[in-house]
Amino acid sequence: MKVQIDAQLCQGHGRCYDLAPDLFGEDDEGYATLTALTADGIVPEGREGDIRLAAANCPESAVLVLEEALNDRR
């Protein structure tokens, strides 16, 4: 599974990094970032549920989840 934050969409509701603080972080303004664990966009094995939880809770659909770890989406 892969994950990305769409910075255009993110409005800093902070749901993702409050729910999964080791998978998502925040910048100085409160917008979401990836973390050391997700920096390359690859979701650590066994953490797919937390990524889905964060995506389900993002009001802006800014947590982009690619279910199969295929090649780059962009």
Partner: protein, 414 residues
């Protein structure tokens, strides 16, 4: 629970997120998601924002695609309403005459726009569903002045969007300031100013007596004796829970499905409720609560899924209230309680252009109870964490917010 069936009625935020959360919780049985509207499940907040503005197409509003539903083994039954619930027989009857058997049922039928009490021939709209907004957009396309009745979240947002589309807009509300049920005048007045700066005529403290005429030629009579003429009128005066279909179910329904602390209907352990239609006993409050906020629907969905899958570990549902609203260049975020009066402190400036501020609220004992922030997500998430932790000294918290980096608002490109 591998052989059990869960029927979720209502295919919007609450229903879709419940179905997904059941799978996250490991539920391996059958999940059927029933929805009255024929559209693939779509999200509502953009309806008064990007979708009304014509900036986003429908596909940007998707809550779950048919492919994602299929891969999660969520059966979609769209375009058919649930019409009757037989709790004893564990069966729900659909409008097409078919019936679904269930072990558990989740009521996620949400709310409908409160209809306009002022009959007019045509041209008077509400916003709740995609069909509502499409009809409104069709009338807006013919041009002309617009009167928005109601300065709550939906009315105020729609007024901002419609103004930005170039229409002359007047907002009318008997309450003193916009968003009065969520925020006090300390935020409401600057927000009204924002609307006026953008050229919206505002009539707060004035009610509507009647609406006459038809699309393109409407007259809105106000309680102060004046009359506004409009091509189109939008009535945004709140929502009523979609609980009518449960009238003969035997369930206790009272402005929503009445639930216990675990979001289970008080009369049946097999019936659950989620989102705008759910009224439940939050252990923090003396009276039942019903919320009409997006994050509540999502969090309640997760709570119901957990409680259904783990009956031996029932968790009371007690969320921290959170709602946001986008109007012009204001990104308003409201957490906890802000409209309860009492002491408050403004950090930053709500009158500047663009605004950047946090309004912090204290209870009588000097503890933080809520925050309203504008264009300052960092102060919002800091507030939410403090409120989640609880028992935070107000004075100290004000200092903490003042100490946050005073960076200018993010560039408009965000």
């Amino acid at each position: 629970m591998t052989t059990e069936t869960v029927v979720v009625v209502g295919s919007s935020t609450g229903g879709v997120r419940t179905a997904q959360a059941l799978r996250r919780e490991g539920f391996a049985g059958r999940i059927v998601l029933v929805g009255e509207e024929p559209h693939e499940p779509y999200d509502k907040p953009p309806l008064s924002k990007q979708y009304l503005a014509g900036e986003w197409e429908l596909d940007r509003l998707a809550l779950i695609t048919p492919e994602a539903a299929a891969s999660a083994e969520i059966e979609l039954r769209l375009g058919v309403a649930a019409v009757r619930l037989d709790v004893a027989a564990r069966q729900v009857l659909l409008a097409d005459g078919t019936a679904l058997d269930f072990d558990h049922i989740v009521v996620a039928t949400g709310a409908a726009a409160r209809p306009s009490p002022w009959p007019a021939d045509s041209g008077v709209h509400v916003i709740r569903t995609l069909a509502d907004v499409d009809a409104l957009r069709a009338d807006l396309a013919t041009g002309g002045a617009v009167v928005v009745v109601g300065g709550g979240v939906v009315g105020a947002e729609a007024a901002a969007t419609i103004r930005t589309l170039g229409h002359a807009v007047t907002v009318v509300d008997p309450l003193a300031t916009p968003l009065a049920r969520l925020v006090g005048p300390e935020v409401g007045r600057p927000l009204e100013e924002l609307h006026r700066r953008h050229g919206v005529d505002t009539r707060f403290g004035v009610g509507v007596e009647g609406i006459d005429g038809s699309a393109g030629n409407l007259a809105v009579r106000l309680t102060d004796g004046s009359t506004l003429s409009a091509a189109t009128v939008l009535v945004g005066i709140g929502a009523v829970p979609n609980d009518g279909w449960l009238a003969d179910s035997g369930l206790l329904v009272d402005n929503g499905v009445v639930c216990d602390r675990y979001c289970r209907a008080v009369d049946s352990e097999r019936v659950w409720a989620v989102g705008d239609v759910a009224r439940w006993q939050d252990p923090r409050y003396p009276a039942d609560v019903r919320l009409e906020h997006w994050t509540n629907a999502v969090e309640q969905a997760a709570a119901v899924a957990h409680n259904m899958v783990h009956p031996d570990d029932l968790q009371p549902y007690s969320p921290l209230e959170y709602v946001w609203s986008d109007q012009y260049d204001w990104k308003l975020q409201i957490v906890g309680h802000a409209a309860r009066g009492g002491r408050y402190e403004v950090v930053g400036d709500l009158g500047s252009d663009p605004a950047r501020a946090a309004v912090l609220y204290s209870d009588d004992d000097g503890r933080l109870i809520g925050s309203v922030t504008v264009n300052w997500p960092k102060s919002l998430v800091t507030s939410r964490r403090a409120l989640t932790a609880g028992d935070v000294d107000f004075e100290q918290f004000v200092e903490q917010i003042k100490a946050l980096p005073a960076k200018p608002p993010a560039p408009a490109a965000r």
